[in-house]
Amino acid sequence: MNVNRISAIFEKDLKDFTKNSMLFFMPLLPIILAVFYSRMGDGEDLPLFVIYLIVGVTYSAVTAGFMMMMMAEEREKNTLRGLTLSPASFIEIIIGKSLVTTLLTFASLIIALLIMGIGPLLNAKAMIGLIILFFFFLFLGIGVGLFVKTVGMTTAYMMPLMFLFGFTPMVESLQFEEGSMVLKIFATFPISQMIKLGEDGSWSHIGIVSLWTLGAIAFTYICYIRTRKDS
């Protein structure tokens, strides 16, 4: 692992981000929503599911969304080949490219949480869970970015992923029958598990989120192998 190479990619992406108006809006989205919800809450503490809704929006729009678009663009414009033909290893490239996303994710998330009240998340278990959950979305984004061939195609994947994994807490409001199959499935989704963690504090929820993250890593790895084969 070479720190110089990782930081070179990070610097490049940071400069590129400041010039890419397409990406500028995304980190603002959670902040706007946070303002909106905290106004509705009349100064009372917001329920956990609203807080996790914002977490879900941040992670799906900023974390997964950025990674997807940045990887897809490198592939579409064929600049990824310049990186892979350089001494940089694939791991170095992934880490370098993840840094801008990480920075923006946490800047956006922390501002949004400060607006809404960060209290419910200020405990070790929630923090650990949030970090593991971050990696789930990060790898999901990298995987999809390697999977699709153009930036345009990322939007087609982004919407369903945002709804499934980002807006999971909203499913409850869709009026499914109590105990229905759909609700049971959604209850195992990472954000739902995080809400449960906040309710009962059981480590098992962190375990399930970790499994999702491992799944996302495996997905990214498969997509990576695939890109190597069709070059």
């Binding site: 070479n2 110089n4 190479r5 930081s7 070179a8 990619i9 610097e11 490049k12 400069k15 590129d16 010039k19 890419n20 414009k77 064929n78 600049t79 080949r81 310049g82 990186l83 033909l85 350089s86 001494p87 940089a88 290893s89 070059s231």
Partner: protein, 282 residues
């Protein structure tokens, strides 16, 4: 001098197509080696086998003393430079920011940027945003990028295709200078003039096989009809075999002051390619 590339009986198959078959050649250190062939001949595939982007189906391949298992290693990548037919730069960034990235990836001092831009005649254009560059300028920056780390071996895949003569000349001049400084160059082209101008040796690639391999001048000699082509002042066109028997006849024409023009038959590489394969080089 040692061989920097050794290729022996290499074959590459994609599902049904055999892109390369029974390919054998060596490239010496310091050489400019050309692979000349029409589109679809297998040139790009050959480079990709040597950059580790594709794996061979059969045969032996050794580059810089390493076999393909080592082609993905950083130590190997640091020694090769690649300018492929679809190499790209970061459009929204300046020339300088693009080259800075690669300087750092290869852990070279940033002073290299001025050196390489100078060599491709782009000095003074550092601040320009890549998306604002012409195709020719972009290609010159890509070339600069490909050797910013002073690679021992440079792979170029049709570096001047679709460029105007001015930019082509710039690129040819840069390549000669680089080669003088010791870089070995492996050049794919379908431009016979480019091959003739730059290459110490060329291989003719057609339908995945090498049809001929030699110095351009040797190929010209081999495929020449060895005859004098004489135009007289009477606008007569004569073709006289270059043999001792014909010495008197030629001497007489000269003595008579009848010779307006005289040259030996000198086929271009394009003529030779057509002769061997029955195909034009496009």
């Amino acid at each position: 001098m040692g061989h920097i590339i050794k290729v022996n009986q290499v074959q590459k198959k994609f599902q049904q197509t055999t892109a390369l078959d029974q390919i054998s050649f060596h490239v010496s250190e310091g050489e400019i080696f050309g692979m000349l062939g029409p589109s679809g001949a297998g040139k790009t595939t050959m480079i990709k086998l040597m950059t580790g982007e594709l794996g061979k189906t059969a045969g032996d391949l050794e580059v810089l003393g390493k076999n393909p298992d080592a082609f993905h290693r950083s130590s190997y990548k640091a020694q090769i430079g690649v300018l492929s037919d679809n190499s790209a730069l970061y459009d929204r960034l300046s020339v300088l920011d693009n080259l800075k990235l690669f300087c750092k990836l290869y852990e070279k001092p940033l002073s290299r940027i001025d050196e390489v831009l100078e060599l491709v005649n782009m000095w003074g254009e550092q601040k320009k945003i890549v998306s604002k560059l012409s195709k020719g300028m972009r290609q010159r920056v890509l070339l600069a990028k490909s050797f910013i780390h002073q690679p021992k071996l440079l792979f170029l895949d049709e570096p001047t295709s679709a460029l105007d003569p001015g930019n082509t000349a710039h690129i040819h001049r840069s390549l000669r200078k680089l080669n003088e400084e010791g870089t070995t160059i492996f050049l794919n082209t379908h431009d016979m003039q480019e091959a003739a101008d730059l290459c110490d040796r060329v291989a003719f690639l057609h339908q995945g096989k090498i049809q001929e391999l030699d110095r351009p001048s040797a190929l010209r000699y081999k495929y020449s009809s060895h005859a004098f082509h004489i135009t007289t002042f009477a606008e007569e066109e004569l073709v006289i075999e270059n043999t001792p028997d014909n010495a008197a006849e030629v001497a007489q024409l000269i003595a008579d002051g009848a010779v307006k023009e005289m040259h030996t038959d000198n086929p271009t590489l394009g003529d030779i390619f057509l002769n061997i394969t029955g195909k034009e080089l496009v």
